[in-house]
Point group: C2
Chain length 168, copies 2
């Protein structure tokens, strides 16, 4: 990092105040959002973690585990564990084909499909609460800026080798 000698936006001390740190603020937004959402979804026996995978499957049913991982933004071992739980709870089934026996396709059960009508509005409710008092423009600005931060960090992460790459 910092190969070019660009000036820092602020001195390092500035970020010791968590309220100034994008990372800290994002964590609190995420956890608060998740906690509130889970209060509603748990009444339908769906945890916040499960909800994240169901949301994607409502959009695209029958994709592979790897595709699902990418869309949800989780690593594959996380997906393996989550799918075990979803399968056990009767929300999904896993199917193998002769075409490519490495792949596992994930399908929603009828029950899980029905849940969309109940659970999707609960998410919209939390969104409404989270953005109370904000204009549509402000909400869209927030999204746009977060996406830019995500893109910036993804670029940098792709650039840098991991610790294990270095050791190898």
């Amino acid at each position: 990092m910092a190969k070019k000698n660009q000036p820092f936006r602020h001195p390092a001390e500035y970020y010791t105040n968590p309220e100034n740190s994008i990372g800290y603020l994002a964590r609190i937004v995420f956890r608060s959002f998740s906690r509130l959402l889970e209060r509603s979804t748990l009444e339908h026996d769906v945890s916040a973690g499960q909800w994240r995978f169901l949301r994607q499957l409502w959009r695209e049913d029958g994709i592979t585990q790897r595709e699902l991982s990418e869309r949800v933004g989780m690593r594959e071992p996380t997906t393996v564990v989550a799918l075990k739980g979803l399968e056990k709870a009767g929300f999904i089934t896993r199917k193998k084909t002769a075409e490519d026996r490495r792949k596992t396709f994930i399908h929603l059960t009828p029950h899980a499909k029905e849940l969309e009508l109940i659970l999707a509005p609960l998410n919209a409710e939390v969104h409404k609460v989270a953005t109370r008092g904000m204009t549509n423009e402000e909400v869209e600005t927030l999204r746009v800026l977060m996406r830019r931060v995500i893109a910036n960090l993804a670029d940098e992460t792709a650039k840098l080798p991991t610790l294990s790459d270095i050791k190898a």
Copy 2:
């Protein structure tokens, strides 16, 4: 929620696209940020989780566990576990006083104090990467909007009883 009949900002389907969800975007920002930061801090044997507590202690040394939990935005059991690790690693010491024997005060070791000079700039670096191509105004707007979302969610969470409160 939704006691007043305010209109929804968008239909529920809108949020099935993760890219439109504040919660999803905040999670990805948080994890990307955390991952990149940890790459640097791990070289000094500090994990991302430990870093969060150290950052607060650099600001306020000698506070109680409860105060530390609040400032860092974690629940107390999380703090207990984190402090065990920090103590074992030689970053903090815990002190009891006769004044109030319930309280535990957390103090940085000299080594941990020295680390601030090394680790604080690493955080500033990640911040620089995360906000690359953004103006100071945009960065400040992002912070302000995230703080508003946090305040909105905190209000709502305080209002609602938890599941266990209902059962009690």
